[in-house]
Amino acid sequence: MIEACGLVKRYGSTVAVDGLSFTVHAGVVTGFLGPNGSGKSTTMRLLLGLDAPDAGEARVNGRRYADLPWPLREVGSMLEARSFHPGRSAHNHLLALARASDIPATRVGEVLDLVGLAGVGGKRAGTFSLGMGQRLGIAAALLGDPGLLVLDEPANGLDPEGIVWLRTLVRSLAGEGRGVLISSHLISEMALTADRVVVIGQGRLIAETSVAELSARTAGRRVLVRSPDHGRLAAALDVAGARVERSPGGLLLVEGMTAQAVADLAATHQIAVHELTPQPASLEEAYMELTRASTQYRPGAGHGQRDGDQARMNMKETRP
């Protein structure tokens, strides 16, 4: 089990991680989601003791990472691409890591085989493509046969076949009882891979929930409404604070209000309604909705970073 407890990390005046707490359980794939620059990589560095938090602490199986007796046998990790020397062969890179953890050298061949690099183990890692580099990183993470895995954007640079392979691998690791924390900015991939999600924005926890719950959270918050008196209904919905999209033919797409609330509103105003259909929200939409307020780098936003108060205000606007 990995526990993040009130982690705070500042770089100068920038707060990269801001009071973040969450848990990674055994046997569960936890998707770690957030827009670019939201603090996912920094959080993972804090979990692995590469960076020291300014406040809070991270615990792996109840201990600080630095106090683990055999780190690679408890947590396998892959942080960012290219955590190897380009001049060293894949085999020797893994052999060095194995030696430090007293892992038998035969395990090196096993993990190279497992990630599909058996044929190029003797090649210098610097000659590898991005995808092969990712595979080497995954091999290093699996080296100690650890019960926990921390993988930062492992799908980066993998071809579609590789992504399916990774998904199957991660699912089977969790199936064996291992806990996996896997970061991604691609929610659609996480929808297929993860059981639970931890969503962060601007270093803060936005949601820690199951994938099913997350899609349920925003499902039904979009309603398709057909009414002969759509002009008046749209006006009433506007006043009530919902976002209304008018389609040709008098169809209204209402966001931010449940079907029940729309029906009640129509009844109050004595407006006839011919159709009222809750729209299923994809996980992607749920995620967009959650992180809208905290997207740091947004085209046209005009400024790089908002301060916390403004971000919170924006969050209220989008989540009435």
Partner: protein, 264 residues
């Protein structure tokens, strides 16, 4: 797909410095850059020493009495030691800075989060390799040089400097390792090393009180590699060696302190 045992077993005890040293040995011998730099040290030191001996041997017949009085056959055969410090220091720097330049440091610290232990292991392996290679190089240069000089000019016999020069080179490697840990960037650390070891003596020569005698390169040339005392420099023997050991220890301590305090 199989990922071996479902319930991973963790052995008793914990990783110790010997495990980390084995890992560092694999790393040291498996990167081209370090191998090349060390090979360059050996070849360069031998080539310079033998060339100098050839030149001096043919000059001996025409030398003035004063030149003959200053003639130090051991020192001439070790002329390559003017070059060796650069190579061995770069090797030392690369052992640490190469990890930062490539991103390997993340993998390394994930496996060995006790950072001072990591630096100790790196220092131990580097010192052992540097010492072995340096001693072999210095003795070969000495014996080859004396063989060239023999018969044509005075030559020295074993038991004079040698041993100390090789150990001194190992200390320079550790000094480079310490600088690599402090500066972390290869280019910056190599520049700092070259500046301190090779350039600083020339700057200090201009100053009163002759502070240049305390600079690594000068100490190597005058007190460790030479047999005949040279005016204004540390006398041949342990003084220069001991001072170099202090430099290396202080730099490594600073590197270890920064390594454990800074974010990787």
């Amino acid at each position: 797909m199989t990922v071996t045992a479902a319930a991973p077993e963790i052995p008793p005890g914990r990783y110790r410095v010997v495990h980390v040293m084995r890992a560092e040995w694999v790393k040291l011998r498996s990167v081209r850059s370090v191998r090349w730099v060390l090979a360059a040290m050996i070849v360069g030191t031998l080539a310079l020493g033998i060339t100098d001996c050839l030149v001096e041997a043919s000059d001996w017949a025409h030398m003035t009495a004063a030149s003959r009085a200053r003639f130090d056959p051991a020192n001439i055969s070790l002329a390559g030691l003017a070059f060796a410090p650069l190579a061995i220091g770069i090797a030392g720097v690369l052992v640490m800075s190469g990890e930062y330049g490539s991103g390997l440091i993340r993998s390394t610290l994930a496996a060995v989060p006790r950072r001072r232990l990591l630096l100790v292991a790196k220092a131990a392996v580097l010192a052992a390799v540097a010492l072995a290679l340096s001693e072999v190089t210095v003795f070969t240069a000495f014996l080859a040089g004396q063989a060239v000089l023999a018969g044509r000019a005075p030559h020295a016999t074993l038991g004079q400097p040698g041993v100390l020069s090789g150990a001194y080179l190992a200390l320079l490697a550790l000094f480079g390792l310490g600088l690599g840990a402090v500066i972390r960037r290869s280019a910056g650390a190599i520049a700092a090393y070259a500046g301190l070891v090779l350039v600083l003596p020339y700057v200090l020569l201009a100053l009163p009180g002759n502070p240049a005698r305390f600079v690594p390169e000068t100490m190597l040339a005058s007190s460790v590699a030479a047999v005949r005392p040279q005016a204004h420099y540390l006398p041949p023997g342990w003084e220069g060696f001991a001072l170099m050991a202090v430099y290396a220890a202080v730099t490594l301590a600073a590197g270890g302190w920064l390594l454990s305090r800074r974010d990787a």
